[in-house]
């Protein structure tokens, strides 16, 4: 299958995806995905709607089980039998969902405090301190008492980021972080992601179909098409790839499926 060419994959990968296949009610969504994510890098997976980006991202954290193939995190296969070991591996992750996926029965503070209360023995003062830190990182403050329904879409997502980083995860996953937002808010979200990349010792995997956002936040860009990774390259290299589909994607022009 496709071999990764980037030099960063010489080190032991943080995440390795090996020949991943998945179909839903007969429709093949992933058809042999191979991908490695190096420690500390920011990988952006781009692709058209329905290319299987979300499905791939959800495989990385075990939200979906593959039909075939493996997801290896720090040398450990996610398809482990012991559910408690699974929970331990999952604690390395923080994930931000498309619409934030905040618990709507809790206010902002309790949302961010939730993983801390669940997984640590921190005192309430320490938790309050950590919640403030996380909110500062995403440039929000003074909204601790608000309910998710009272927030705008962009704010909800940033609270989702704050919740995802509360436990200081080693890996951050972003599911379409700026889809459906106006360009200014989307750029603000990108800036928050870039700051998190620079300030936190994390590996990041983001999926998006917004190329300008991908170029801003990526160390490497991977193109997913028809359930396979068709190209992986650093952003500046990615622009010059000869692949007609990639060029069509960059230019925002339709590509004849048959020719490509």
């Amino acid at each position: 299958m496709q071999e990764q060419s980037s030099g960063s994959s010489r080190r032991l990968p943080k995440i390795a995806v090996i020949d991943l296949w998945k179909s839903f009610s007969g429709k093949e969504v992933l058809r042999g995905v191979n991908l490695t994510v190096a420690p500390g890098e920011s990988l952006v997976i781009v692709g058209g709607s329905g290319a299987g980006k979300s499905v791939l991202l959800k495989h990385l954290i075990g939200l979906i089980q593959p039909d075939r193939g493996h997801v290896i995190v720090d040398g450990e296969d996610l398809a482990c039998a012991d559910p408690e070991r699974c929970l331990a591996i999952r604690r390395k992750f923080g994930m931000s969902f498309q619409e934030g996926a905040l618990f709507d029965s809790m206010n902002v503070f309790d949302n961010i405090a939730f993983p801390l209360r669940r997984h640590t023995r921190m005192s309430e003062e320490e938790i309050a301190e950590r919640v403030r830190e996380c909110l500062n990182l995403v440039h929000l403050s003074g909204i601790e008492k608000k309910m998710p329904a009272q927030l705008s879409g962009g704010m909800r997502r940033r609270v989702g980021f704050a919740r995802a980083i509360a436990l200081k995860p080693e890996i951050l996953l972003f599911d379409e972080p700026n889809t459906g937002l106006d360009p200014i808010t989307a750029a603000a979200i990108d800036r928050v992601i870039m700051e998190m990349r620079d300030k936190l010792p994390v590996t990041m995997v983001t999926i998006t179909h917004d190329m300008s956002s991908a170029f801003r936040i990526a160390d490497r860009i991977a193109m997913l098409r028809d359930g396979k990774i068709v190209a992986v390259a650093a952003p500046e290299e990615f622009r010059t790839l000869p692949d007609p589909y990639v060029q069509g994607f960059l230019a925002g022009q339709p590509v004849d499926e048959e020719v490509a």
């Binding site: 954290i61 331990a88 498309q98």
Partner: protein
């Protein structure tokens, strides 16, 4: 054969759907049992759900039981008077309430009140990815969401039924003595004359099983919701219909097994 193919396909699809449903029910039941005995134990969530299922259902269950007892006394009194057996009204009321009516009617009311809200809550959390978010935070959704709900329903239903037994018997007494002119002392005496402790206990066992059934049904319907807001609506309705049906079906077999 060819023209019949769509018919067989439709029938087959139905059966597959039924088996899927049964599979989901037992999947949720199985993982609930598994995760009930693993740390951490969510005392606050348990208490919250127990208050919701138990305490907040007292008015509904109480009213249901009161009027069931009253109408039971009224009907049997009229009927039994035809062959001069009014003396047995008290026994009939207390036996049928404790063994059958209180557990079944309470369970059906709770299925409508609680089973539906479990399905709606979990369904909304599913379609807004909140369940995925729990999972991503290394919190097992079944343990955090389903275990306290199923536990609370299983524990609280017997308590509600004890209450319903008492209120129902009181309702029967009020109608028979107050309305139909039965002798209060005789009626009271007859209420307990043929009543075994086993009658009450069997009703309570039924209640616990019904609580388990309605909670697992509601949770599994919600947990596997697909299709946005409409899907949540469908899950909610289906949860009540399915729970009520399974309660009535299992009632027969439980009665057959227990005595």
């Amino acid at each position: 054969m060819k023209p019949l193919l769509p018919f067989f396909e439709a029938v087959g699809r139905r059966w597959v759907a039924v088996f899927e449903e049964v599979g989901r029910f037992f999947y949720i039941l199985h993982s609930t049992i598994l995760w009930t005995f693993r740390k951490p134990f969510d005392v606050r969530e348990w208490v919250r759900q127990m208050v919701r299922v138990g305490v907040e259902s007292v008015p509904v269950v109480g009213l249901t039981a009161l009027f069931t007892g009253m109408v039971l006394a009224l009907q049997t009194y009229r009927g039994f008077a035809r062959f001069h057996a009014e003396g047995f009204v008290a026994s009939v009321v207390s036996l049928s309430l404790t063994r059958e009516l209180a557990p079944v009617l309470a369970a059906l009311m709770i299925a409508g009140r609680i089973g539906s809200s479990f399905a709606a809550e979990l369904g909304t959390m599913r379609v807004t990815e909140q369940i995925d978010a729990l999972y991503a935070m290394a919190v097992e959704p079944v343990q955090y969401l389903v275990v306290p709900r199923v536990g609370a329903a299983t524990v609280m239903l017997p308590f509600l039924v004890v209450l319903a037994d008492g209120i129902g018997v009181f309702g029967g007494y009020a109608v028979a003595v107050g309305l139909m002119g039965a002798n209060p002392v005789v009626y009271w005496d007859k209420t307990f004359q043929y009543l075994d402790l086993n009658d009450v206990f069997s009703g309570l066992i039924k209640a616990a099983v019904f609580g388990l059934i309605l909670a697992v049904t509601g949770c599994s319907k919600g947990f596997f919701t697909t299709g946005g807001a409409e899907g949540v609506g469908r899950a909610t309705t289906a949860a009540v219909v399915m729970a009520s049906l399974v309660i009535l079906l299992s009632d027969f077999f439980l009665t057959k097994i227990l005595f």
